[in-house]
């Protein structure tokens, strides 16, 4: 008798298309969810909805032009992406850039990381239903965007780095405004903790959700704050310092829990570290030229060059194969979002739909970075 009752109540898996247009996929990511009631059995990401074949386009562009394609990928880490290509080309040319350039690149890179994390924090709150955080994140991000606007003229898809140095010198106001921002944001960052980190509902929603062990993080190639929250020491700035990172003191934020809250806390702590890095450098920008002289047509010597940097999302690599021409023979980007997304199915299995949203937020996906 009992058996028949059980059979009648047996449930059946069903599918839901989450995306390509969905509020919490933050772009045109399509997830096919197999659900048992509200419990997720399988998540299958389908990507390619905004594939623009950037890598193929690179094969026909000059090295100076390639730089401008990279900020269309991870638009929140645009300066860091540009820096990666510039560093790769400089490595190929064996070009030593002036110290001033290195320091400015580091400051700009950390400001980019801060603005990316601020936006992530806002969106994270919004995904969990606290819409106010979104506005708070944007309020603070606006100041960095203003600094960038003054420096390079754009507020999104910014370009400042070029192979050999910078497009132009920093604006006279740059140092003052950056310092103003640091004093302002040091007061505002504890507000973030008040609003989300210490909220009971928020902690309930994130603690112990979406666990990713260190071994899994390594085998999925998960990098950035996501990987470091699982205890995987993968900060490129620390292990393979570029620009001025070997001159500054900063901690690599490592946590061992590997859940959503650890990933959240990792990014919050990284914001403090970024602030401290900028503080150390902002008064010590050396004098000198803002770019090293390069030829109008850059031709890399024959060979293969790989340069990686730490973007706000993780390890971003540029792999250039040159045949000695003015454009690369083949260029491959190693984008952090793509690898991080691959761990989603592993993390979300057995969770509820609401947890999936939290997990996706803490992965901090930028879809153009995944699709390229």
């Amino acid at each position: 008798m009992e058996e028949t009752v059980y059979k009648e109540l047996e449930s059946e898996e069903y599918f839901i298309n989450m995306g390509p247009q969905h509020p919490s996929t933050h772009g045109v990511l399509r997830l096919v969810l197999s659900l048992d009631g509200e419990i997720i059995r399988k998540v299958e990401p389908h990507i390619g909805y905004i594939h623009r074949s950037i890598e193929k386009m690179c094969e026909h562009d000059s090295y100076q032009q390639i730089v401008h394609l990279t900020d269309r990928m991870d638009y929140l880490s645009c300066h860091i992406n540009n820096e990666a290509v510039c560093l790769g080309v400089e490595m190929g040319l064996q070009l030593e850039v002036p110290e001033r350039v290195k320091v400015i690149r580091t400051i700009i890179g950390e400001l980019t990381r801060l603005s990316s994390h601020q936006l992530w924090w806002g969106v994270m709150g919004m995904d969990l239903g606290a819409i106010t955080t979104f506005l708070y994140g944007f309020r603070d991000r606006e100041l960095i965007t203003d600094i960038f606007e003054e420096t390079c003229g754009a507020r999104l898809t910014m370009n400042y780095n070029i192979p050999g140095g910078l497009m132009f010198d920093i604006h006279p106001n740059f140092q003052k405004r950056t310092k103003d921002f640091i004093t302002y944001f040091k007061k505002k960052l504890p507000e973030y903790d008040d609003l989300l980190s210490n909220n009971v509902i928020f902690r309930e929603r994130t603690l112990g959700i979406g666990n990713l062990s260190k071994e899994d993080a390594i085998s999925f190639g998960v990098t950035g704050p996501t990987g470091r929250a699982s205890g995987f020491s993968c900060d490129v700035r620390k292990h393979h310092p570029y620009s001025a990172y070997n001159k500054v003191e900063f901690k690599e934020i490592l946590r061992t829990e590997g859940d959503c809250y650890a990933r959240y806390q990792c990014r919050i702590d990284e914001m403090w570290e970024s602030l401290s890095i900028i503080e150390q450098l902002i008064d010590n920008i050396p004098e000198g030229p803002y770019k090293a002289p390069t030829k109008a047509v850059i031709k890399l010597p024959k060979g293969e060059f790989y340069q990686k940097v730490e973007t706000a999302r993780g390890e971003f690599g540029v792999y250039i194969i040159s045949e000695g021409q003015k454009s690369p023979y083949r260029l491959k980007f190693r984008s952090p979002g793509f690898s991080n997304l691959s761990a989603l199915n592993h993390m979300a299995q057995g969770c509820k739909i609401a947890d999936l949203v939290a997990i996706m937020s803490t992965l901090d996906l930028v879809i153009p970075d995944i699709d390229r």
């Binding site: 509200e38 709150g125 969990l128 239903g129 106010t132 509902i201 929603r205 509820k352 949203v357």
Partner: protein
């Protein structure tokens, strides 16, 4: 101005005027029509005012201005939105159950109408004064969930269905807490009739008179009623970041406007019940023997007191919505069944004890 403090003068005058001109049967029908029209107008005004208030409150919380362009301070923004919704095409998707799909918004609105009829707005301004008022409101306000379930089922959309199922589980659970927290006060008043409950608070509101159990009951009522109206942090039924728009994903135009209006109407109703039972309804705020102070408070008309208290409750709910993250469905049910319900039951026993010993004021 006498009628402003006691609406029974006004209602009696209207009744007398009508009785002189018409048959008794016609008078009843005419009065019913008048009350119905009055409630419809109230709903329309409530919708306009509360939507505007919600937008401005959220704007203040989020450090922005909110609507500013349409009319002075954006006051005509809601009107413009209503016009937009009226002009929109009512889309029905191909595989929807058309009859139920069209019925659902009306079920929700009817439930709201039925509940609001039992609220005492001011002295003598009370459509139906049931002797089982609280029971009636608790019963009727939970009818709205049928509309949500119908909407979710008939839309033939999986997001809608998940939203409706969540909503069903949520409202049925939190219904208990709402009713039990109201019962805590009924233990003190000894009556379910709302007018009697209001009158019993002439010398002090129950939240102050009932000691700690009344405050606990008020807190539970606040949490549970926010959950019952499907508002954040309990807005799982429409959780826009998970289910796009939940049960009303497929609705557009006027039918969507009905769901939207019903949300605000329900918020008004639960705030009204809370104000009536815990905060003294239309009774002014009095402090013991401070004659002067009490006289000043008495000078403010009861209807202002009622809407002021309701406004305060609604502001609290808006504050919740715009600051807290959303709960997950299992956490939501855990909160109700493992925390609120046991605390509530204990609280009733405590209150009964207090009442028995006569320890309340």
């Amino acid at each position: 101005m006498k009628w402003l403090y006691d609406f029974s003068y006004l209602t009696h005058a209207i009744h007398k005027g009508l009785s002189e001109r018409f048959e008794p049967g016609t008078v009843v029908i005419l009065e019913m029509v008048m009350v119905g029209v009055a409630f419809m107008l109230l709903f329309a005004v409530l919708g306009l005012v509360l939507v505007y208030a919600e937008r401005k409150v959220s704007a203040v919380i989020q450090q922005r201005l909110g609507p500013m362009r349409v009319g002075k301070w954006g006051t005509a923004q809601t009107l413009a939105d209503v016009v937009k919704l009226l002009l929109k095409e009512p889309l029905i998707n191909k595989d929807a159950d058309r009859f139920l799909f069209n019925l659902a918004p009306f079920v929700i609105m009817i439930a709201a109408f039925m509940a609001i009829a039992a609220l005492p707005f001011a002295k003598g301004l009370h459509a139906i004064d049931f002797d089982i008022g609280i029971l009636y409101i608790a019963a009727v306000s939970s009818l709205g969930v049928i509309g949500i379930l119908l909407a979710g089922w008939s839309s033939n959309n999986k997001y809608s269905l998940i939203g409706a199922m969540r909503s069903g589980a949520q409202i049925i659970s939190y219904e208990l807490s709402v009713a039990l927290s109201l019962l805590t006060i009924v233990v003190l008043t000894g009556s379910l009739q709302l007018s009697v409950i209001v009158e019993s608070q002439a010398d002090g509101w129950w939240i102050f008179k009932g000691h700690i159990p009344a405050m606990i009951a008020f807190l539970i009522f606040l949490i549970a009623s926010t959950a019952e109206t499907n508002r954040g942090p309990f807005d799982l039924a429409e959780a826009e970041s998970e289910l796009t728009a939940g049960f009303h994903t497929e609705y557009s135009g006027l039918k969507f406007a009905f769901f939207f209006l019903a949300e605000f109407a329900n918020m008004f109703i639960v705030a009204g019940i809370g104000a009536t039972v815990f905060l003294g309804g239309w009774m002014p705020f009095h402090i013991g023997t401070w004659e002067g102070f009490n006289a000043v408070m008495d000078f403010i008309p009861p209807i202002v007191w009622f809407f002021g208290k309701v406004g305060f409750m609604i502001f609290l709910m808006m504050w919740f919505r715009w600051t807290f993250p959303r709960l997950r469905i299992d956490q939501l049910l855990t909160l109700e069944w493992k925390y609120l319900l046991p605390i509530n039951l204990m609280n009733i026993v405590l209150m009964a004890f207090l009442s028995l010993m006569g320890w309340h004021f």
